[in-house]
Symmetry: C2
Subunit: 303 residues, 2 copies
């Protein structure tokens, strides 16, 4: 396969917490830097896997600043900024733009369900116009489609309308629906923006269709393997590389995803503190230990 | 019917916005005072009907202070405080407790779906312990069950566990599920706390079963009628009073609820500004005008 588009892995980095559940920015920086060294093209922190919606605005801003001060280049960061309240989404998006981030990954407002397309469009428009007014042409939005959590889908007509209204701003979309048919429709409909799959197992199909790569929870554990697959898509080891990333990913299916990813990351860093989660999550239990250990083994050394 | 429990109407007051979508605290105070004068026992502002999740923390705190400074007694206020992030829920709950509010109406953290009962319990426990540590014995929590929006139900075993752990704190529950079977199970299971229906049409059943009354969106439009029903539950006009509140409520079914409630309130105040909504809501259209006008007519003069 060949493509002119750059194929990338952005990692939705987990957010470490201290024993008292306060934000642990030191470990966040350690993990973020390790992911880049393992081959990730960038980080998409403060998404679902990052427990971003369990963080206050001040915590999210402080953590983003810590990553940049800790050596993660802002042009390799696409932080999540979509909140329920437009005022919060604007504050986070403006902060990220001000810091020079490549773009922001934006959920629709997600409390109210069954809202109209006009209303969801107006919600995105309100944020984009407010941030663009302050930050000018550099503001880039990646739409975040994760209907099983948000309850508010990013539909094809909505994307069409947003691209028409804000052609330079809408830069991409992360499809976390888990459906390849959904991703294929996004790629076919909007070749002018970057469409990321939420599963590394879909990378070959994503790239063959014209997509841009993946933003995957399990890339916290297997960034090295996923980068190897991206680099080897046209090479002789393609099948083995694809089998490796799919096997690691498969081990997390059926586990409580975010606690299990954090437990695996803790094992990889040799530092149990990385496993800490905030409510409403709970630590993984003994039933999950075997699958997590096997995922770590299959992923191999990362850093 | 007879009951020792005080039967009450708490109105989830709409939140007015100015033309630029900024918070309009002056109109909020006008409406809040009018509702009390119309017979509401209190207000439960900053819930679903209030577009609370479209407000920033600073807006919510400022609006609550404005209500109190504007003459609404804090012991007649049960503001909504449940956010996705515990830090935000703690900040709002502590602020409300500090101001002397009767209690707070608390959503579970609602971004993550399919979380465990242990995790939801831990989320409530984290907030209750943080606020109780600062505010002492006076802190009261009303649990907010609205699974069609939150995606995270308040289950019977969760309530049992919360009451056992925090017996003086868990004061009640608002059941917005729309299911009478659900409300009946809450009342039967937990007679020691106040169970509110989200529909005034259920008040007779709610009270007969041992419930505490209602917290209903449409009470923004018909507080006077609902209060008359509560006062007349044992009287000769019961059936007519019940028919009136049910008829007003029925007119909102099939309409976009929150915009329609706001449009009706605007008509009642003779002030179109009350109809303004924030995205993701949009103003009601011409198709809805007839039903809204009829609801206003059936509700009759309120203030």
């Amino acid at each position: 396969m060949t493509t002119d588009r750059k194929i990338e892995l952005f990692v939705p980095a987990i957010t470490p917490f201290a024993g008292d559940l306060s934000l642990d920015t030191a470990r966040l920086v350690v993990h973020g830097r390790a992911l880049l060294e393992a081959g990730a093209h960038g980080l998409a922190p403060f998404g679902t896997t990052s427990e971003a919606n369990s963080l206050t605005l001040a915590e999210r801003m402080g953590a983003l600043e810590a990553l940049i001060e800790g050596g993660v280049p802002p042009d390799r960061l696409i932080p999540g900024t979509g909140c329920c309240a437009a005022g919060d989404t604007i504050a986070l998006s403006d902060h990220a733009a001000q810091l020079g981030c490549r773009g922001v990954l934006m959920l629709p407002p997600f409390y109210y369900k069954g809202v109209s397309q006009d209303g969801v469009f107006a919600a995105f428009a309100q944020v984009i116009e407010a941030v663009a007014a302050r930050r000018g042409d550099g503001f880039r939005v990646y739409l975040y489609h994760i209907p099983q959590m948000s309850g508010v889908p990013i539909t094809l007509p909505l994307i069409e309308r947003l691209i028409a209204a804000y052609p330079g701003v809408i830069a991409g979309l992360k499809d976390s629906s888990g459906s390849w048919e959904s991703t294929a429709a996004f790629i076919a409909g909007f070749p002018q923006i970057d469409i990321y799959s939420a599963s590394e197992a879909m990378i070959p199909d994503n790239v063959a269709a014209g997509g841009a790569g993946c933003i995957s929870a399990s890339s916290n554990v297997n960034a090295r393997g996923i980068r190897a697959l991206i680099d080897g898509l046209d090479g002789p080891d393609h099948d083995a590389l694809h089998a490796q990333v799919a096997a690691v990913r498969r081990l997390f299916e059926g586990l409580p995803l975010i606690p299990a990813i954090k437990a695996a990351v803790a094992a990889q860093h040799g530092d149990a503190a990385f496993a800490t989660v905030r409510p409403p999550f709970v630590l993984t239990g003994p039933d999950h230990a075997g699958a997590i250990a096997e995922a770590v083994r299959l992923a191999g050394p990362q850093w």
